[in-house]
């Protein structure tokens, strides 16, 4: 089967339509993950022991099971208990929950990487707990987190094709549906790959920039 440029131009608008959904899902998924991650991290680090433990287990469970199956679960099983989410929303929740567990780890590591001496210096200068967090710990913990979070953002972007399994018409699903009606897989699939590669290469450059910009603040 030969590569057909005319066909490429013909399907381009459809694919771009899908790309739009992909990007939307990524953006909302990421925002949700950032928030859910914060909740997980706070529960794990500061809640009473039993709650922290249960949270820890939930986080481990979500991290240890495939997003695809989680999506099926949210989309097909939750309606049995009366929670019927539109496909796109179900997808965003799946992404947010799954990547929230990763974000939680980033938050935790970022905070734990602030040297103990900083906590002690804050205490020795008699700052309160809240003041220590706001003025000493978070300003140091957040910048190094940014590249790691961005990394997961990109990873999430690359996992959005899974949403096609729960009928979201994102890039991959559009490509499949084009393939279904034309019986040609080469062009749509390759184009999807190229789209992802382009987006990723751009984000790699962006990531390098972030890493440089927020490279560890030095002291010691």
């Amino acid at each position: 089967m030969e590569w057909d440029w005319n066909f490429v131009w013909e399907i381009m608008p459809t694919l771009l339509e899908g790309l739009k959904i992909t990007i939307l899902a990524t953006v909302f998924g990421a925002a949700l993950a950032a928030i859910i991650g914060l909740v997980f991290a706070i529960l794990r680090m500061t809640a009473p022991k039993p709650i922290a433990k249960v949270t820890g287990f939930i986080v481990e469970f979500i991290r240890g099971t495939p997003l695809l199956v989680q999506l099926y679960f949210i989309f097909f099983v939750l309606p049995d208990i009366g929670v019927r989410l539109p496909a796109m929303l179900a997808g965003i929740i799946g992404l947010g929950l799954h990547y929230g567990t990763y974000a939680a780890e980033v938050y935790r590591a970022g905070i734990e990487n602030v040297p103990r001496g900083q906590w002690e210096a804050a205490k020795a200068t008699n700052l309160t707990g809240r003041q220590t967090w706001v003025h000493v710990i978070l300003p140091q913990a957040i910048p190094p987190m940014i590249p790691a979070l961005a990394n997961y953002l990109i990873a999430m972007f690359k996992e959005t094709p899974l949403l096609s399994a729960i009928t979201v018409l994102e890039l991959m699903n559009q490509a499949k549906s084009v393939a279904n009606s034309s019986y040609r897989y080469i062009e749509p699939m390759t184009l999807v790959g190229v789209f992802f590669l382009i987006m990723s290469l751009i984000s790699v450059v962006f990531l390098r920039w972030l890493e440089e910009r927020y490279a560890q603040v030095e002291e010691r």
Partner: protein, 255 residues
């Protein structure tokens, strides 16, 4: 004939199926059954190919998979339509069926044809991706965003029960099998869909392997003559007479 010798050599033919009873099914023990694979198994046996090995696939992925050499033949209830006839080499007709809708009890949106769905801006139809029903809906003018591509029959039924779609469309026998198994009084069947033609499937071979197809046709014809064909498909609810009353030529020419 190279391809047939190859299959004999390897002892089995790789077939694509969809796991959509009664056309194709996988039993609890993993055994492949359903009318289409059963016929194919018998014909291949007569051609000297011992067995068939099935892999489940989406409808949309079947023809690309055939072209990519992933399987040797499609036996999945993939109905003959002119553009498909251009893409693959069909055998003579095997299983015929009309289209049907599964919808909520009492048919609240009064949907009887694909046109009705197109005309009702609230109606959403679910159909297998790359299947005949998806195409019929689109051709009838249902906009893309109201044709939900559903991965498999069970998902379709579930989405109908959950109210995510208003109609789920499959061939009559498939819908009946699905609804019977679900045993859900809130779901009813409209069959056949008004204005939708009766379709027949055939075993689909890769273009360029017409020799194998022709050999298949010869044995298929014998099977039909001997009455064994009817014995295989009628328990599944299909009509042997329907398949024998039409030809590939007619079906591929139909518009």
């Amino acid at each position: 004939d190279g391809k047939l010798e190859e299959l004999k050599e390897q002892g089995f033919a790789r077939v694509a199926i969809a796991n959509e009873p009664p056309f194709t099914a996988v039993a609890a023990d993993g055994k492949v059954s359903g009318a289409a694979p059963d016929v194919a198994r018998e014909v291949f046996k007569r051609l000297g190919v011992e067995d068939i090995v099935a892999s489940i696939s989406e409808y949309g992925a079947m023809i690309p998979g055939l072209q990519a050499g992933r399987h040797d033949v499609i036996t999945a209830g993939l109905f003959m339509k002119p553009e498909r006839c251009n893409a693959v080499a069909y055998s003579e007709p095997i299983l015929c069926d009309a289209e049907a809708f599964a919808l909520k009890k009492g048919n609240p949106l009064k949907l009887k044809s694909y046109k009705d769905i197109a005309d009702n801006p609230d109606a959403k139809i679910g159909a297998p991706g790359g299947g005949t029903e998806e195409k019929l809906a689109l051709e009838a003018g249902v906009p893309r965003d109201r044709v939900i591509v559903v991965p498999d029959g069970q998902s379709g039924l579930k989405m109908l029960q959950d109210g995510r779609i208003d109609v789920y469309s499959l061939p009559v026998l498939s819908i009946n099998a699905l609804v019977a198994k679900a045993n859900d009084p809130s779901v009813e069947v409209v069959a056949p869909v008004e204005g939708a033609p009766v379709y027949c499937d055939g075993a689909a071979f890769k273009k360029g392997e017409e020799a194998l197809r022709d050999a298949f046709d010869v044995e298929l014809a014998k099977l039909k003559q001997s009455g064994e064909f009817a014995k295989i498909i009628e328990p599944y609810g299909f009509s042997a007479a329907a398949a024998m009353s039409t030809t590939r030529e007619k079906l591929c020419a139909a518009k």
